[in-house]
């Protein structure tokens, strides 16, 4: 917000100096910025974040402009879909109504993460604002809601429930992945996974003495928020500023919503890379005397991963640093080639460094952090890959004309 005011002040000042017409610049800024949200990498609410990408999300009671709250440090995760906010961040005086099943009982969501941690809690309906755009009447999950914690084993017994900001290093997760919904047709009544989808549950009675798995219509599921904007809804770009390879305390960037919908979201020089049905690209890493490189048929770009993860011959870190990270003896420059289903079309690059010094400094932005994947075919291009780049995500089923040289339909990445 401070940044916005500074910008407004600056533009107003410039306009004043430029000849006295003081009405248009403000409108111009508002018009330009309506589809832009600020991004931030810092140490986060628990002070321990590393390469965690945050934005602020405003939620309102549907239709209201006053019953609203802006929640900062919500994790931007291109590896999941749906907005999940810590219940403790959503005050009851917003008067959000619960999402309910056809019999009027409260619906709940369940999301499992790789480390066994899980998000469990009731679904609610809210207007969700990112930048100046609003996704009206959107399903939002309230995670770690004290009234439903007693039923959390219905969601998972794999690990720790996400209750507090310290469990997540964030106040919520804004899942902005390639798909329009968290589950899609598989969780509908006729879907393959039907009521035993593990993602959606319904209270069995008004007091919610227990829950049972339930099907959920696509439009009631957790949503890719961008796809629900009235305009600028076919995809978005993440533009991160460069970070020196030694790391930095913070990093900033922008999310620009819509592709080819406004003057600020044409990306004709980027290459469109359509993903396969699982959301993967084909990737290849260059080899040199230290790194064996190789091909990675299942490559994805995930801002929710805080390193670049792939299997290689590089040495792992040793305690106190996690052995899942690489600790190369010297900096390694790696070229990445990405393509659709085997055809290489676009490139990128990153450097891997021993992260020990940067960890010691308490840097939150480490552009050279990498580690082991544990699966030879997978390449997880996490947040470090995004620094200094523009990465576009085209949402599944949505078409865009402003990216690359011709029209494209999601799911795709462009870079």
């Amino acid at each position: 917000m401070t940044r916005l005011f500074l910008l407004l002040w600056l533009l107003l000042t410039l306009a004043a100096c430029g000849g006295g017409s003081s009405n248009s610049p403000v409108l111009l800024v508002a018009a330009t910025d309506v589809n832009v949200a600020d991004l931030l990498v810092d140490s986060g609410p628990d002070g321990a974040g590393v390469n965690q990408l945050y934005t602020s999300v405003t939620i309102c009671k549907p239709g209201s402009t006053t019953l609203c709250k802006t929640i900062d440090h919500v994790l931007v995760d291109t590896g999941s879909v749906g907005l999940r906010l810590l219940a403790s961040e959503v005050p009851t005086d917003l008067q959000l109504s619960a999402a309910t099943s056809t019999d009027g009982n409260v619906l709940l969501g369940c999301a499992n993460f790789l480390d066994g941690s899980f998000a469990w809690g009731p679904l609610t309906i809210a207007d969700v604002k990112l930048g100046g755009l609003t996704a009206a009447n959107t399903t939002v999950q309230l995670v770690g809601h004290s009234a439903y914690d007693r039923l959390q084993t219905k969601c998972s017994e794999s690990g720790e429930p996400i209750i507090a900001a310290s469990d997540l290093g964030a106040n919520g997760i804004l899942g902005l992945g390639l798909s329009k919904q968290d589950c899609g047709s598989a969780c509908e009544a006729q879907g393959r996974r039907s009521a035993r989808n593990g993602k959606y549950f319904s209270c069995v009675n008004p007091t919610c003495s227990n829950v049972a798995g339930t099907t959920l219509a696509i439009d009631k599921q957790l949503q890719q928020v961008v796809a629900r904007f009235p305009t600028d809804n076919n995809g978005f770009a993440i533009q991160m500023d460069s970070v020196p390879s030694a790391g930095a305390a913070n990093a900033t960037g922008k999310m620009i919503f819509g592709l080819g919908t406004r003057a600020n979201n044409y990306f004709p020089t980027l290459r469109v890379l359509a993903t396969n049905s699982q959301g993967y690209l084909y990737g290849a890493l260059s080899s040199n005397s230290v790194l064996a490189g190789g091909n990675f048929p299942n490559t994805f770009l995930d801002t929710g991963s805080n390193g670049i993860f792939f299997d290689s011959n590089l040495p792992n870190c040793t305690p106190p640093h996690d052995s899942g990270f690489y600790c190369p003896l010297a900096d390694i420059a790696v070229n990445v080639l990405l393509g659709s289903v085997g055809a290489v079309q676009a490139g990128g690059g990153f450097t891997l460094t021993n992260p020990a010094a940067s960890f010691q400094k308490g840097n939150a932005a480490l552009p050279t952090l990498g580690g082991s994947m544990g699966a030879p075919e997978l390449l997880d291009l996490g947040l470090p890959f995004f620094y200094g780049k523009t990465v576009v995500i085209g949402i599944a089923g949505m078409s865009a004309t402003g990216v690359g040289s011709s029209a494209a339909t999601g799911p795709f990445y462009a870079l």
């Binding site: 480390d115 959301g279 805080n306 390193g307 899942g324 997978l378």
Partner: protein
């Protein structure tokens, strides 16, 4: 579950089993043929599960002696917990399957081990690698959701949890999980909607089995 009242059964009938496991016993019932379920329900009401157990086995033995033999060999560990280091989720040819398993394919046999291919209720596929003594020594999974790690890892779940916690404290966020601790080797990777991973117990690997090749 739909088999109300079973929680009241004394765990003594199941010897070393704890109350926690009784829900799994309940769950396991639904997979049994109707005939046996009826006997079980009757005796459950009478509160005599030990008797039930004996009667069921005897009946099985008389009616279908081959099945019965298998059931005797598998029933207790199957219903116990069926995780890494324990008996598989599917009790061989008897068809008794853990309720969290949606379907399974019959075992393929490798050199010194058997493989069971299961689909869990959440749509994720699990392969169980079972050694000659009937213990699960390795697991592999892939599918739309993370399998219940408590279900898969059983008594080794605390090792997984502790490793995750340590990695988190060392700055790991959101990426793959790699565990090598307490005799457990585990990888949990992939992306939301396409989870994959494997786990094995180093101490239980059958001699001559190349576990990396197995889990590819």
């Amino acid at each position: 579950m739909g088999e109300g009242g079973l929680e009241a059964i004394s765990p003594i009938a199941y010897g070393r089993l704890q109350v926690h496991h009784l829900t799994k016993v309940t769950a396991g019932l639904s997979a049994l043929p109707k005939f046996y379920r009826r006997i079980l329900r009757q005796d459950v009401r009478r509160g005599s599960l030990l008797l039930t157990f004996w009667k069921t086995l005897r009946t099985m033995w008389l009616k279908e002696w081959r099945l019965g033999t298998l059931a005797v060999a598998c029933a207790i560990p199957l219903w116990a917990s069926a995780a890494l280091g324990e008996a598989p989720f599917v009790a061989g040819a008897s068809g008794a399957v853990d309720a969290r398993v949606a379907s399974y394919q019959s075992a393929q046999t490798g050199q010194g081990y058997k493989v069971y291919a299961l689909e869990l209720n959440n749509g994720t596929e699990v392969k169980e690698f079972v050694d000659a003594s009937g213990h699960v020594f390795a697991l592999r999974w892939s599918g739309p959701d993370l399998p219940d790690m408590g279900m898969l890892l059983g008594s080794h779940l605390p090792v997984f949890k502790a490793s995750v916690q340590a990695a988190r404290q060392a700055g790991k966020r959101g990426g793959p999980v790699l565990v090598q601790s307490g005799g457990l080797v585990l990888v949990s990777s992939g992306v939301m909607g396409a989870f994959q991973g494997y786990a094995y117990l180093t101490a239980l690997l059958p001699p001559g089995v190349d576990v990396q090749a197995l889990l590819k």
